[in-house]
Amino acid sequence: MSADKPMADERLAKVSLTKSLLQRPEVGAVVGLIAVILFFTVYADSRMFSLSGIMNFMEPAAQLGILAIAAALLMVGGEFDLSIGSMIAFAGIALGIPLVLWGWPLSLSILFAFGVAVITGAINGFIVLRSGLPSFIVTLAFLFILRGLTLVSLKEATGTTQLRGVKEAAGDSWLVEMFSGDAFEGAFTWLANMGWIDTFKNGTPKVQGIPVEIIWFVVLALAASWLLTRTRFGNWIFAAGGDPIAARNVGVPVNRVKIILFIFTAMAATLVATITVLEFGTADASRGLLKEFHAIIAAVIGGCLLTGGYGSAIGAMVGAVIFGMVQIGITYTNINLDWFQVFMGAILLIAVVLNNWVRNKAMSAH
């Protein structure tokens, strides 16, 4: 025994630095983020990393990130949801129609939209678990069903594919502040007065506050990461995705975990819907197009395995930031905007290969 102890300690000292770092699922995303920042520092206009430039790319990153974090938890739990993009449009009208056409107050309309999300998520999960079909197929069906239902309802209600007049109907409820506009405006005015941030000629700061979706994004990322890594439910998510049979054998309520994750994903889409509907003042049948793929890409860049049981919420957050940075960053360079999709595809491919390599590295060698 006594001879074994120091040996074990020696091994600990040797592997912990490189390997424990490599074992983290986020490592690929962080490396990617550094690479993307370096790329744009060299090739993009320096305004990209000014305060207003950062807010510029963080805004789309945040909207995507809210989806990506939920998609990441679901992927760790072993399932996909391809209907989140359509869910954004569907939740948009579930909010807009009661508010504008039925004359409901904003609070009730938002509650209604989230209620619809809970039901939709539960239906997705229920069908997947009951039928035993891959969630990929079931939610692909809902990608079309929800998008179609949105179109049908909007045309029925307004005759067009858009519902206007949300801002007027919402009035100046405090809820509008929670889901749209900027936060911490006072602090930014103060910073401007102190001369610490850029201002326009008349003294108002160029960046008047942090767009609220960024706050939602960061809070959600921290909460999801805590849930996944520090709680019992998080352990169940890993177990449900890693090996549902083994998990069931030791008493993990796998079905309940998965249905909750499907509901959570639909609710994340509804949060994005609420933010965009209040921001633009319209509900639109084409909103959220392709977002399901962007969210999954961000989650995969963030280290989620397509096979489930492995991944990270912080990784998905970083993945979404990379996504926003590349999307907006290109406009600060001389590169033609059409290259964006090529970049994202290439980053996805590199991320998957890198993650695979890292995982094999971490899992091999006893």
Partner: protein
């Protein structure tokens, strides 16, 4: 050992199990005393799997009774079996390779601290217990956070065994724990079985390897075609006799002759 005066922790009497027209078990009796390792031997298809699945509640016996503590038991599900203290470590292990040893060890029974809704999984306690339980089994983990996938096959078996023992197993059923292992890992697992037995748990050790059985077994029961060919105590039977019983006699003897006693 004064086994005859002690009460078995579990006793199965004349168990029959029919699957439609197929009679998988035709009256098998079997008992396990606390602190003994009872080896269940038999060739493929002898009914070992059906028998342990009946013992653990996966199957319900067509006839016969299961007695624990003088009470007739009727396990409707594996869960009921687990709650009565019967833990099974299956060959495929119920371990999730990408999850850490601690996460696997506590899966489904995670300790919590803090207050609702901010209850944390108590990793401090979880890690400490995992490390010390594994150390009791003779494995010094590098760190409780290492993925189970980085462990060797024998070490994974040990995690599964340590988990079952820690969560109060009275009967530990090991389904061919050594069949996929190398020599050194096999001896580690056998050593673990010995430790578990000494802690008072009754071990049911399923194998078709006579040498592994003789290394740790206190009693040996051989199954053939759904029937017991008898139970022998340690020292009452030779490896050759066991081997012959398992193989059902002549063919094996002939084969052994031509292979020069190497099987």
């Amino acid at each position: 050992m004064s086994e005859d005066t002690r009460k078995p922790v579990i006793e199965l009497v004349d168990i029959e199990k029919h699957f439609g027209a197929v009679i998988a078990l035709a009256g098998v009796s079997f008992s396990v005393y606390p602190g003994e390792c009872h080896c269940l031997l038999g060739d493929n298809g002898a009914g070992k799997s059906t028998f342990i699945k009946t013992m653990s509640g996966v199957h319900q016996p067509t006839k016969g009774k299961i007695v624990m503590d003088g009470k007739n038991m009727n396990f409707g599900s594996p869960r009921a079996g687990m709650e009565a203290g019967i833990a099974t470590v299956y060959q495929d292990l119920a371990m999730i390779p990408l999850m850490s040893v601690t996460r696997n060890f506590w899966m489904g029974r995670e300790p919590q601290s803090g207050f609702w809704p901010f209850k944390n999984m108590d990793f401090k306690k979880a890690d400490e217990v995992t490390m010390s339980e594994m150390a009791k089994m003779g494995i010094n983990l590098r760190e409780p956070g290492q993925a189970v996938g980085t462990l060797s096959g024998g070490e994974r078996q040990t995690v599964a065994i340590a988990r079952a023992v820690y969560f109060g197993a009275k009967v530990l059923i090991l389904d061919e724990p050594t069949s996929a292992l190398g020599v050194r890992q096999t001896s580690n697992v056998l050593a673990t079985v010995d430790k578990v037995r000494k802690s008072g748990v009754g071990v049911v050790f399923i194998t078709h390897n006579v040498r592994h059985a003789l290394a740790v077994g206190d009693r040996f029961t051989v199954l053939n075609r759904g029937k017991t060919l008898g139970t022998a105590k340690r020292g009452e039977i030779t490896p050759d006799e066991l081997q012959d019983m398992m193989a059902g006699g002549q063919e094996m003897a002939q084969l052994e002759g031509s292979l020069g006693g190497t099987v």
